[in-house]
Point group: C2
Chain length 245, copies 2
């Protein structure tokens, strides 16, 4: 008999007020909470009566195995991810490993506000039309596939949201990405750069495709590049949908 349960929980951008009730409840119901140390720290005060398993980066497989092991013992576990756990987060790898191992525990995915959307809210309304999210990390994806996505997204006039814009501290990824996009889009296209959206240390700035590389861009940053109709107003970046036609 196995009544263990795994919640994979998106905790949103970090500020407690942007967590959903379901995420708070899933953590509250869990005996153990597993996650990347930095995210565990964001919710530490919720975990006083919990077993905490904090991990370093790149140890995603280990985290999932630990969750499975605990669940097999009948315990309830929350595996936490920042933003939405279903977007470059822990949901996929957890299901992959569970499916392979013939896991019989119940697994529930609890979505959260993704990083792209909390960053967008800090900037105005840049994601109001069709958009593409692209991670510039080539740890798990060939760089050529990333270049192809950048090129196609720019060509088709998607608003583009870049995750992991400065992978392993390498500056050339964001430079190459900017140059590919600029083949299809004007220098003056508004670009929003947001670091630590909706948590301590939030910083948001509006610049242009031509100027964006003169700003600090690091691993905690999300970059949103407007489409051909996006404009910067006093109230932030706006991608119009055309209601006024």
């Amino acid at each position: 008999m196995n009544e263990g349960k795994i919640f994979v929980v998106g905790i949103g951008p970090g500020g407690r007020e942007h967590m959903t009730g379901a995420a708070i409840e899933a953590i509250g119901r869990s005996d153990a909470v597993i996650g990347y140390k930095t995210y565990i720290e964001l919710i530490e005060d919720m975990l006083l009566d919990k077993e905490i398993l904090g991990y370093g980066m790149k140890r995603e497989v280990e985290r999932c195995r630990a969750a499975l092991e605990l669940a097999e013992k009948g315990r309830t576990v929350a595996l936490v991810s920042s933003g939405d756990c279903g977007v470059y987060g822990m949901a996929g790898i957890m299901l992959e490993i569970a499916a392979e191992s013939g896991c019989e525990s119940d697994i529930e995915i609890v979505p959260g506000v993704p990083a792209a959307n909390s960053a967008a809210a800090c900037l105005g309304a840049p994601l109001m039309h069709d958009y593409a999210t692209i991670s510039l990390s080539d740890l798990l994806t060939d760089w050529s596939a990333i270049e192809k996505r950048l090129d196609c997204a720019a060509q088709a006039d998607f608003v583009i949201c870049l995750y992991n814009p400065r992978s392993h501290g390498r500056r050339e990824h964001i430079e190459k990405a900017r140059n590919i996009i600029m083949k299809h889009r004007a220098e003056g296209t508004p670009v929003g750069i947001v670091r630590s959206a909706m948590r301590e240390g939030q910083f948001a700035t509006v610049t242009t495709l031509g100027e964006m590389l003169s700003h600090d861009i690091d691993m905690l940053t999300t970059v949103i590049i407007g489409n051909s109709k996006t404009y910067a107003s006093e109230l932030g970046i706006i991608t119009p949908r055309g209601y006024k036609r």
Copy 2:
């Protein structure tokens, strides 16, 4: 003196437990709540002491003008959108109209869990890699631009999330979209169809690109089409990121 305030609030998929604390607080602090009738109904019990302005579809500009008028009288207003208000929601049009009118009221965008992400959580983990969201509604966008986006997104192997898959009840949009995507992607590609994700009447099914048109698809449906590596498992649709390399 004008101390009015407008919150543009994403209420998430509908189930109360998937609203963020900030969204609940914004509505709680508001004197008046404005929105599409169907969404107002989802949160009716939170609005007992509020002035309620419910509108029919396609009256977005009117809703924003009503919000501005109330704020100019010093009142606090919540303009609500389902999902994330920043994704095909009210944030953009509200900022557009406010910027034009030289509005001096404070406007705050409160993000929510977008429809794509709540649908994804019902299906497993389909959005785990780069994805594009495309609305098939050609009310405000030329169909040729939509076709170009479908083609480019399919070509570059994005996971594709379709909003408004059956615009004004016309079946041909989703058929055309499917056919464009199938030029670049195998018939057996997993497709998830979710209606009323995470609210009353939720229905989710997993099918394939080849078979998807034999399922009911309407305005309340979100369709998620996997990339070339997406697979269907017993635990749902999984788009792997490659951790196991």
